[in-house]
């Protein structure tokens, strides 16, 4: 089906997608979370009529606007990159994947685009009530956008509600409800939006802490922190819960990803959860080296998190690559054989259909259908190709979890001291507060790496590897656009950071 794989091109296309997604992910979580907090600030102003709350609301809106613009700029490229760099993907799964993107545009982007202008320019143009409504609608719109893009992403991780059409050589949707409400999409949405809320609250805490340390805009900073720390605490506790749900969904639907994240090379019953570890760089899949040179583990907890049973068996990377018949785990080698049978039968089916050999075509189709569950494995060369980069997944996952554990503690400390009005006496906390935004940003990136690197080599889990999803482009073409994007986004990022820092230095308008 794919005669000449250009792996170099695929890797550049991968790098380009990673680059644009990473840049996009600098701005989007902040947008997702901060819109709710701004709407809350705006509501307090609406209710109290206190000008201080208005100044505060306008100040955070201004920072949000700078961030929002560049989020939009980096977002458009992601949508169209599916077509430009991953055209085979677009054709093969566009029937399913395109729908959430279109719905995102219709339902979410128009809300954002329409009410964004009212939110910023509506202070003296529309009624106070409609202005407040518009601010809330921006929050609704941005988060609706997250719903649909995460539905699309979740479908790539857990492709339900579809079937392969051999005549058209593509996957087609058969159940929209399954696509929208798959367990992976629900856990992805709740985990992503709640962690975005944490990040946005930490953004406000970081800047407000800096103001308090400098003795500037103290009333605004304290008020901002009171609200933000409540949001941060509640959201970060919820993140732990949604993280557990997310991990459970991964364990059930993408066990290879879970094994890579946990560095679980050989499966075991009553598997331990590694709280912290140093991965063994010499470790190869299937050898006898220990996966970690140092680790702090919690016995049986991984089994509980993965299957809700302390004694259950959790498959390791080796089991899924080479098979473990005793535990009923099929190896990638066997799946590759079935996948190759499916691909050969598909080619046979198409040839016989063209030749008008209906009986032969039907026989080929029967073979295809018997093996199509592992269609994607047919493109892999060896069983080891079915495993993602383990060390990167392992470290990303663990550092994300460590940071995620820190956030509720810091948020609680801010909440308590802000409540007692003693924040100024705890300089150590304010200093810690100034870096919390960066730590939460790192946690977000790590989460993104866990989600996307951990599912390699698949564009669509088990059905379509990344190497097949690509466009028919030369490596040089994609390389050129990679560096163009890198240069452009870096320039825009520098501009954005410069503007942000200046706006923070200026602070809110004086009353």
């Amino acid at each position: 089906m794919i005669e000449h794989l250009d792996l170099t091109m695929v890797n550049w296309a991968r790098a380009q997608f990673a680059l644009t997604a990473l840049y996009h992910w600098i701005f989007v979580p902040l947008t997702l979370g901060i819109t709710w907090i701004i709407a809350y600030y705006h509501s307090i102003y609406y209710k109290t009529g206190n000008e201080e709350w208005k100044r505060l609301t306008r100040f955070w809106m201004r920072l949000f606007a700078v961030n929002f613009a560049i989020g939009v700029a980096t977002g458009i490229i992601l949508e169209f990159e599916f077509g430009t760099n991953w055209s085979n993907y677009s054709w093969m799964v566009g029937d399913i994947f395109g729908a959430p993107l279109a719905i995102e545009g219709l339902f979410a982007f128009f809300i954002e685009a329409t009410f964004f202008a009212v939110m910023f320019f509506g202070w003296d143009r529309v009624s106070r009530r409609f202005h407040l409504f518009s601010t809330w609608m921006v929050a609704v719109g941005t988060n609706l956008s997250a719903v649909w893009i995460l539905v699309a992403n979740a479908w790539m991780q857990h492709p339900v509600g579809q079937q392969f059409n051999p005549d058209k050589a593509r996957f087609e949707m058969t159940n929209f409800k399954e696509v929208v409400f798959s367990p992976v999409s629900v856990s992805k949405f709740t985990h992503t939006t709640s962690s975005s809320m944490v990040l946005a609250a930490m953004f406000i805490i970081s800047i407000s802490s800096w103001y308090l340390l400098k003795g500037r805009h103290q009333v605004m900073a304290r008020r901002s922190i009171v609200v933000a720390s409540v949001f941060a605490f509640l959201a970060s506790v919820f993140v732990i819960f949604t993280g557990d749900q997310s991990a459970y969904a991964v364990a059930q639907k993408q066990p290879m990803k879970l094994a890579a994240c946990e560095g679980l090379c050989r499966g075991e019953e009553g598997a331990e959860l590694i709280a912290f570890g140093i991965f063994n760089g010499d470790k190869k899949i299937g050898d006898d080296n220990k996966p970690c040179v140092f680790k702090v583990g919690i016995p049986k907890v991984l089994s509980f998190l993965a299957n809700r049973s302390f004694k259950s068996f959790v498959p390791g990377v080796k089991d899924m690559v080479f098979g473990n018949p005793a535990q009923g785990v099929m190896g990638a080698g066997e799946k590759i054989a079935m996948g190759k049978k499916a691909l050969a039968a598909l080619a046979d089916y198409k040839a016989k259909s063209r030749a008008g050999d209906d009986v032969g075509a039907e026989a080929a189709l029967a073979i295809f259908e018997a093996n199509q569950k592992y269609l994607g494995y047919g493109y892999l060369e060896k069983p080891e190709d079915a495993a993602p980069p383990i060390a990167l997944s392992f470290y990303s996952f663990h550092f994300m979890v460590i940071l995620g554990t820190l956030f509720p503690l810091v948020a609680l400390a801010f909440l308590v001291f802000a409540w007692r009005d003693t924040l100024a006496d705890h300089k150590w906390l304010l200093r810690l507060g100034t870096i919390m935004f960066f730590l939460s940003m790192i946690a977000h990136w790590l989460g993104w790496i866990v989600a996307e690197v951990g599912r390699q080599p698949w564009a669509i889990q088990d059905l379509l590897p990344v190497t097949v999803a690509r466009s028919n482009l030369t490596a040089g073409t994609v390389q050129t656009t990679f560096f163009l994007f890198l240069a452009l986004f870096t320039i825009l990022l520098i501009a954005e950071v410069g503007i942000m820092l200046k706006q923070i230095a200026i602070g809110p308008e004086e009353g």
């Binding site: 939009v72 458009i76 490229i77 169209f80 395109g98 219709l106 685009a113 503007i499």
Partner: protein, 377 residues
């Protein structure tokens, strides 16, 4: 009811819906037109700020309609999405670049420490308003002139021109289509600004805007006439009874005659644009944009519908006629189109709140007070 619709009806309906979004996008290109007018119409910093802030209220609508146009095509006609974006790579990448730089320009332009300075972001807006629209026009032109691609038996695309889509910009018809869109956008931009900017105390700006509406319309005319006459005379792509594709003389004229409603829409659209320009340039009216906008939507609809119906491939291949895309062979499955049609029932609601907000915000025109507050662009 939707569940009982024929597959071919759904395919036609979705091409119509995509065309409506595309046509509305062409109307909303008044933002791009205004951006390119910035360099000729605005003479002072205040005038420039008024124009930027007026366009700034609407730029996101244009941007969003482009994104929705792309999303709708992806959902309804994934083979077109895969073939065109993956094949005509460079033309789409350049278009996207012009929209990326546009998206930040409004917000960054007048902010201190913005790295590139005001002029840098104004240049971005100019590039988006000219090159971006020109290339979109050239890409639309390929619906009539064809592209250089072949599809494998698995529908995977191979582009046969090393220019990867940029070759469209070397075809006179495509370029003239693009140039027409650029000047039409400028005409609309001038009419929109007349409607949205409070020119009280600035008669010179108002005069320049009225002149710009007429001048840009007159410049666009020869390009429009060339495109229209070519459409009537050129050979076109036709799907034959056996399913093969062949070149047929006067195909698009035949399509127009076979769908008289398109002919009516085209004529009505042209009359509305002319009326809008006339009102803007030769009277005190500020309502020309509504006529010009409606006219542009109608003309845009015809341009997008004409190459898609009456056994016509909307995205023909010049190098392999059999690979040409029709709304029937490029569409999503019946199930997906049905689901999307249910979703499309919400479109009137979306249009209603956009119209409501537009009206609410248009209650007072942009004036100098607006450009001096802290949120101003």
């Amino acid at each position: 009811m939707i569940g009982n619709l024929e597959y071919s009806t759904l395919q036609g309906l979705w091409w119509l819906l995509c065309s409506v979004v595309g046509a509305v996008f062409l109307f909303l290109n008044f933002v791009q037109g205004g951006q390119s007018l910035l360099w000729t119409v605005a003479r002072t910093g205040e005038e420039k700020s008024l124009i930027i802030n007026s366009l700034g209220l609407k730029w996101e609508l244009t941007f969003t309609s482009l994104v929705v146009f792309g999303g709708a095509l992806f959902a309804a006609f994934p083979k077109f999405y895969a073939t065109s974006f993956g094949g005509a790579y460079w033309v789409w990448i350049i278009i996207l670049f012009t929209f990326i730089v546009q998206a930040v320009s409004y917000e960054f332009r007048n902010k201190p420490r913005n790295l590139l300075g005001e002029k840098g972001y104004e240049l971005f807006l100019l590039i988006n308003g000219t090159l971006g629209i020109l290339l979109i026009g050239a890409a639309v032109g390929t619906f009539y002139t064809g592209s250089n691609f072949q599809l494998s038996q698995y529908n995977l695309v191979t582009w046969t021109s090393p220019l990867r889509g940029l070759e469209a910009a070397f075809n006179v018809f495509n370029v003239f289509m693009g140039v027409f869109l650029v000047f039409n956008a400028r005409t609309l931009g001038a009419m929109y600004l007349l409607n949205n900017v409070d020119c009280t105390g600035m008669p010179e700006l108002e005069k320049r805007l009225r002149n710009a509406a007429m001048t840009n319309f007159l410049i666009s005319l020869p390009f429009l006439l060339y495109v229209l006459v070519s459409l009537l005379l050129m050979k076109g792509f036709e799907v034959q009874e056996a399913g093969s594709v062949a070149m047929v003389s006067h195909k698009y004229l035949a399509n127009l005659l076979a769908n008289p409603i398109l002919l009516v829409l085209l004529l009505a659209g042209l009359v509305l644009v002319i009326w809008g320009v006339w009102k803007s340039a030769r009277s005190d009216s500020t309502r020309g944009i509504w006529f010009g906008g409606a006219g542009t939507v109608l003309v845009g609809l015809v341009v997008l519908l004409l190459p898609a119906f009456n056994n016509t491939p909307f995205y023909p291949s010049k190098v392999d006629l059999a690979s040409s895309l029709t709304i029937h062979n490029a569409s999503s499955s019946k199930f997906t189109l049905t689901v999307m049609t249910y979703v499309a029932l919400f479109i009137p609601l979306i249009l209603a709140y956009i119209a409501y907000v537009w009206r609410a915000m248009a209650g007072r025109r942009i004036n100098l007070d607006d450009v001096n507050n802290e949120e101003a662009y």
